[in-house]
């Protein structure tokens, strides 16, 4: 695979998607079941369910759904509404149609209930599957890939093997001209001043410290931090220790900017995504689970997400593939079928990092040539989206070079 270019389906906006997925999106929990039923006959094909469960309007969720439904991986979208929810469905439909994708809206109340909606939905999905198969493919340049990284099920091996392996891959990708994103300001706690030194400007460094301090305040109000029982069982004792290990997954490239979920980066480089809401804490924890974070990375434009785990995660994601890098050799021995890359050898031999990075590179390229991740093979297409509130980015967060 070495040297082979990635390729993707060329969308009207110029972005290239490495998958060609039909999304069936419910716009309130009341339409969730119908959306799932619509996709049943298409099992094994790239027809994924996403959605927003809330009935109350939320600008963040609206923006996330617009970003996800016009993601370069998505070829066509079916929206499933109950009918009376507060989601701005016409606005979403328009955004998708404007992007040049086949799109359709079904309202369960108008269609005559569950069975009629399921039938209408299945009938509609059949056509775009044929249509989008004709979307032309184009070779990707090294500047095209947008890659996210997340760690979950973290433990001590994550900080020694999995996250450094992801970091090595990020350093290489950024050097090649790609765009990379890391997240979880809650996991820079205790280490924000060190990471801020890697920012491209002192003002951006200050903004980074402020986003982490916001995370400290937010988690204090919630009464709990980004630290789980499994973290402790795996040998991690403090959030600082977890942060130091987690920080390694972003590599050593300078940080070009801070972004918020749903926004695309203006230039290539390494970005921190601020996932903690602004203002008075509302709506609970910033991200209720790993999946909510993966979805934010994808909404930001990620072609694929590198997921470093130690305890072992089973998840994949709707829309973009999740490449799982397992840091713990014992975990890999137990649940290797759920993993894509075994980074466990690095625990006992740090020299293994380059080999692991080469494997990550080859697997990413292969994904753009029709290969599938372990989680995709196992049918994982998780999705989670909750309500949040964000204010616009400060002026120091994005400083476009030149």
């Amino acid at each position: 695979m070495t040297g082979q270019a990635m390729q993707g389906w060329l969308r009207a906006d110029g972005h290239k998607g490495i998958c060609n997925t039909v999304v069936v999106a419910y716009l309130v929990e009341c339409a969730h079941h119908v959306a799932c039923e619509i996709t049943c006959p298409f099992e094994g094909q790239d027809v994924h369910v996403i959605g927003f469960p809330g009935c109350f309007p939320n600008d963040y969720a609206q923006g996330m759904m617009e970003a996800l439904c016009t993601h370069q991986t998505v070829g066509a979208v079916l929206l499933v509404s109950l009918g009376c929810e507060n989601f701005q469905k016409r606005r979403l439909l328009e955004a998708i149609e404007t992007s040049g994708r086949p799109a359709h809206l079904i309202s369960i109340q108008d269609a005559g209930g569950t069975r009629a909606s399921v039938t209408a939905g299945r009938n509609w999905v059949t056509d775009p599957i044929r249509q989008i198969a004709n979307v032309p493919k184009a070779e990707m340049t090294p500047a095209d890939p947008v890659i996210g990284t997340i760690c979950g099920g973290s433990e001590a091996t994550s900080g020694i093997a999995g996250n450094p392996a992801a970091g090595r891959a990020f350093d290489r990708l950024v050097a090649e001209g790609a765009t990379c994103i890391f997240e979880e300001t809650g996991e820079l706690i205790g280490f924000e001043h060190v990471k801020a030194e890697g920012a491209v400007s002192p003002e951006l460094g200050d903004a980074l410290v402020e986003t982490v301090q916001k995370a400290v305040r937010y988690y204090d109000t919630m009464g709990d931090g980004s630290f789980s029982q499994g973290n402790a069982e795996g040998g991690l004792s403090t959030i600082e220790e977890k942060s130091l290990g987690a920080y390694a997954k972003s590599g050593a490239s300078p940080i070009s900017g801070i972004v918020k979920p749903g926004e695309r980066p203006p230039t290539a480089g390494l970005y921190l995504m601020d996932v903690v809401p602004d203002g008075t804490p509302r709506f609970g924890f910033p991200n209720i689970n790993d999946t909510a974070e993966i979805v934010e990375l994808i909404a930001w434009g990620a072609h694929a997400v590198i997921f470093a785990t130690g305890r072992g995660s089973a998840v994949g994601s709707a829309i973009s593939p999740v490449l799982k890098v397992c840091a713990n050799p014992e975990t890999f021995a137990r649940m290797g079928e759920d993993m894509d890359v075994n980074a466990g050898r690095v625990v006992r031999d740090a020299a293994g990092l380059d080999e692991v990075d080469a494997e990550i590179r080859d697997k990413l390229v292969a994904l753009a040539h029709g290969s599938r991740t372990a989680s995709e093979d196992l049918g994982h297409h998780e999705f989670a989206l909750t309500s949040k509130v964000f204010e616009p980015l400060g002026p120091a967060c994005l400083q476009v070079a030149g």
């Binding site: 795996g234 040998g235 004792s237 403090t238 959030i239 220790e241 290990g245």
Partner: protein
């Protein structure tokens, strides 16, 4: 697990400034951990990835890993002791051991 001879292991030390090592494998109580010329004997069995004190750490002193303080000792820690929630704490967020809570 009874052992005739204590097994020797080389824990991972991520930075010269560290006062703990990371166990590369599960290691039984009584086994010897060696870093350079320094040897410590494990007080208790320690799982893979868990931390072992390589030097005396006084109460209030920093626990050092990756060359950075990852928390403070909440009591005096002897070389060879498991360093974890029972004898160290975060400066930022209280970590609860939920499994041992009633």
């Amino acid at each position: 697990m009874a052992m005739d001879k204590p097994a020797r292991q080389d824990p991972l030390v991520t930075n010269d400034a560290d006062n703990i090592g990371v166990s590369k494998r599960s290691a039984a109580a009584g086994s010897i951990q060696q870093v350079g010329t320094r040897q410590v004997t494990l007080e208790t069995t320690v799982g893979m990835g868990h931390k072992v004190a390589l030097a005396p750490i006084r109460e209030g002193q920093d626990v050092m890993k990756y060359g950075f303080p990852i928390g403070v000792a909440t009591c005096d820690i002897a070389p060879g002791a498991h360093v974890h929630l029972h004898n160290s704490a975060s400066r930022y967020t209280v970590i609860r051991d939920r499994e041992s809570e009633k």
